[in-house]
């Protein structure tokens, strides 16, 4: 664990790049009994198109809260969030659902595949919510599954696949809607380190191919080191933004 004390903001040099996430002065306060907990305490940053950005922090640092708010799963107490051209902080739940359906892909830590459905059906599920006819959505889902290298497993149920394979299905599911931004919440949290490595490489490859923005939450500094940029969070505040390896 590397402890960074000094407030070392790195200026975003690439002004010409398109900004897809713009967070300004974000606060989130939870009531906890009689007290209030400040999960986020004034956070501002930008993320650009095609960027792979990691939000790093220990548990309880507020990183998950931040991700949830970016994905429109939670509402901020104060501040503004602009994601993929939409100001989502004032949206109601129905509008948020629509926003997610149109702009966002999500990869879960615990895969969250539907156990009764096979790989193709799982991948095709977001398309079901969009009302895409079965024939078309199965074709698209199949293509996605091939993209993540699971061609042989496309009719397997989740319990017939390893964790890595399941997460690849999860990835295919996040990408099938062709989202602007993909959010990943500790995507390798349930995987061993070798599979994690493999997983991250694949994720980078696929996303950069499609020029997608990826925002990943992790507590693992080694994983975060793979990102273009790391946003370190501690106690609800950004302590460091670190430029990683350039692509």
């Amino acid at each position: 664990m590397e402890q960074v004390e000094q407030m070392d903001f790195v200026e975003a040099k690439e002004e010409k790049r398109k900004c897809v996430i713009d967070v300004k002065n974000l606060y989130k306060v939870y009531p906890l009994g009689k007290n209030y907990v400040r999960a986020l305490n004034g956070v501002s940053f930008q993320i650009y198109e095609g960027e792979f950005c990691a939000i790093v922090g220990t548990s309880g640092s507020g990183k998950s809260t931040l991700l949830n708010m970016l994905a429109g799963l939670e509402k901020p107490t104060k501040g503004s969030i602009m994601v993929a051209g939409e100001r989502i902080e004032k949206y109601n739940e129905n509008r948020l659902v629509k926003f997610r359906r149109e702009k966002i892909g999500f990869i879960f830590q615990s895969f969250n595949l539907i156990s009764t459905m096979n790989a193709i059906e799982n991948v095709a599920m977001p398309l079901v919510f969009r009302g895409v006819p079965k024939f078309i959505r199965n074709k698209r889902a199949e293509k996605m599954i091939e993209l993540v290298g699971l061609k042989k497993y496309k009719t397997h149920k989740p319990n017939q696949m390893s964790g890595g394979q399941q997460q690849r299905v999860g990835m295919a599911r996040a990408l099938v809607l062709n989202p602007t931004i993909v959010f990943a919440d500790e995507p390798t949290g349930n995987l061993d380190s070798a599979t994690s490595e493999e997983m991250m490489t694949l994720m980078r490859k696929v996303l950069s191919e499609k020029n997608k923005t990826l925002v990943m939450v992790t507590h693992d500094n080694d994983l975060a080191a793979l990102a273009d940029r790391q946003i370190h969070i501690k106690d609800g505040k950004i302590v460091k933004i670190e430029e990683g390896n350039e692509r």
Partner: protein, 492 residues
């Protein structure tokens, strides 16, 4: 989300928890079966009752009788408005909802056969009514010659009695029917008749009328020549009657020669409108009367200031209304015109209200079971939302519309209700068959439909069952809809 996806998804979800789904469906099945069976009993009973009432006379029928004292106001002046005349018959048949008006002429009479005396009605009804009667043997009356051809009601023999000392002994005392073959032994009937003021110009007016009333006259002409007619009338008319000069009515007995051509079908104690009388074609009766008494001196026909009317006056009309709902209205209208009118409507109404009670009670019993089933559905769906909290969260994160989630749960609940209702319906049909079989064995007629599942009951039951499923699933569905998408993120 398309409808088809919704259905296949909810069916898939239900199938995932087979045992629980089947148990819940079983609950609905029992509820649906109980409610369908109970209501089928109520419907069957109602139908049975209606049918038994129908044998007493149709439920769309109004019987019209004359106004005050057959139109006579005591001064010899006729009040033609309330007379059951051909004119008024025409008026009735012009009324709204009225399909048909048929006149009835009735006479009372008695006869002696051996030691037995029987008294009964002789009724003239129209041809259609006559043709409706089912005969056990013989045939319908043809054209009457000297003898009035009639068919006899199935329970007419119960009105025969004999005297033992001062006691009258008949069927109801002994339960034994007199051994009489009416078709062979009934030859004549003594009619009790009132003739209105016998006019002295009988013969001349008869000649006048013979030109007017062609059809009846031709029959009498072809059947027998006029000499026979006059001889018959002078022979049978009681001399007491013909000689009286009272301006009021005269009472007496006139003998009718009768030929029974057929016996009506039915057991001896089956009651119907005509079961205790002799029935004949009204046109034949009219012709017979004209031949016997002459056009202007027919018994029971009122006269206006001593002059005969040039139309028939009947004892009653049977007014057929198109639907039973209109009976009351038409009945009222006829009563307002000054006639007395009665129908089975009151009887049917009271039956309906008592049947409604039965329906309510039976339906209520069935409903209790159904309510329990509905709670079962609610419970199952509630469990399902708890169990699938995470899954619902994932769906929400992946962009499933909140309304779609609600619809998904509602359709699952509706599915349980529908399947339970359908299977329950088949069960009820089977049970209904069993009930009817058992019931049929207990009665001699061999056909007893106590339980009747009409198509609308079947439809309503399945529809209701589905609807109850939706109602029961509503709160669980709302709960599912409101679940936070964050549930998907939490790791257990």
């Amino acid at each position: 989300m398309s409808f088809l996806d919704m259905i296949s998804m909810s069916a898939g979800n239900l199938w995932r928890r087979k045992l629980r789904t089947i148990l819940t469906v079983l609950g609905v099945l029992i509820g649906a079966t109980s409610i369908i069976t109970m209501l089928s009993l109520a419907i069957g009973m109602k139908k049975q009752m209606l049918e038994s009432y129908e044998s007493y006379g149709s439920i769309t029928e109004i019987e019209v009788r004359g106004g005050d004292d057959m139109g006579s106001d005591g001064s010899g002046q006729l009040n033609k408005d309330t007379l059951l005349s051909d004119t008024n018959m025409e008026t009735f048949s012009q009324m709204e909802y009225v399909e048909k008006v048929s006149p009835i002429l009735e006479y009372y009479g008695s006869t002696k056969i051996g030691k037995y005396t029987g008294s009964f009605q002789v009724l003239g009804v129209d041809k259609e009514e006559l043709a409706k009667q089912k005969l056990a043997k013989g045939e319908l009356p043809g054209v009457s010659g000297n003898k009035l051809e009639v068919i006899a009601g199935n329970s007419i023999l119960t009105s025969f009695y004999y005297m033992r000392g001062d006691e009258m002994i008949g069927y109801w005392d002994t339960q034994e029917l007199p051994d009489i073959d009416l078709m062979k032994q009934l030859r004549k009937v003594q009619m009790y008749m009132n003739t209105y003021d016998g006019s002295s110009e009988e013969n001349s007016s008869e000649e006048n009328s013979s030109e007017e009333n062609s059809s009846e006259e031709t029959t009498s002409d072809t059947e027998g020549d006029s000499t026979e007619d006059t001889s018959a009338s002078s022979e049978y008319v009681d001399p007491d009657i013909s000689t009286t000069t009272s301006t009021q009515t005269n009472n007496g007995q006139i003998e009718f020669p009768i030929q029974v051509t057929g016996m009506m079908e039915g057991k001896v104690d089956d009651y119907s409108n005509y079961s205790q009388g002799l029935l004949t074609d009204i046109d034949q009766l009219k012709a017979f009367l004209i031949r016997k008494f002459g056009k202007n001196n027919i018994p029971e026909q009122p006269k206006d200031n001593g002059k005969p009317l040039n139309e028939w006056v009947y004892n009653s009309f049977k007014v057929e209304v198109d639907r039973s709902e209109h009976v009351e209205e038409v009945q009222k209208a006829i009563q307002d015109m000054g006639f007395s009118a009665s129908s089975n409507k009151d009887m049917i109404d009271s039956m309906n209200s008592s049947m409604q009670m039965v329906e309510l009670v039976l339906g209520g019993i069935g409903m209790v079971a159904f309510l329990v089933a509905a709670i079962g559905i609610a419970n199952t769906m509630m469990m399902s939302t708890y169990e699938r909290t995470k899954e619902i969260g994932v769906m929400k994160v992946l962009g499933c519309d909140m309304r779609d989630i609600k619809k998904l749960f509602l359709s699952e609940a509706a599915f349980i209700g529908f399947v339970g209702g359908m299977v329950g319906l088949f069960f009820s049909i089977a049970i209904s068959h069993v009930i009817n079989n058992v019931a049929s064995k207990s009665v001699e007629t061999g056909d007893m439909q106590i339980s009747l599942i009409t198509w609308w009951l079947a439809l309503a039951a399945v529809g209701f069952s589905t609807f109850m499923g939706i109602v029961a699933g509503y709160f669980p569905a709302r709960r599912a809809m409101k679940l936070s998408p964050l549930a998907a993120i939490r790791t257990e």
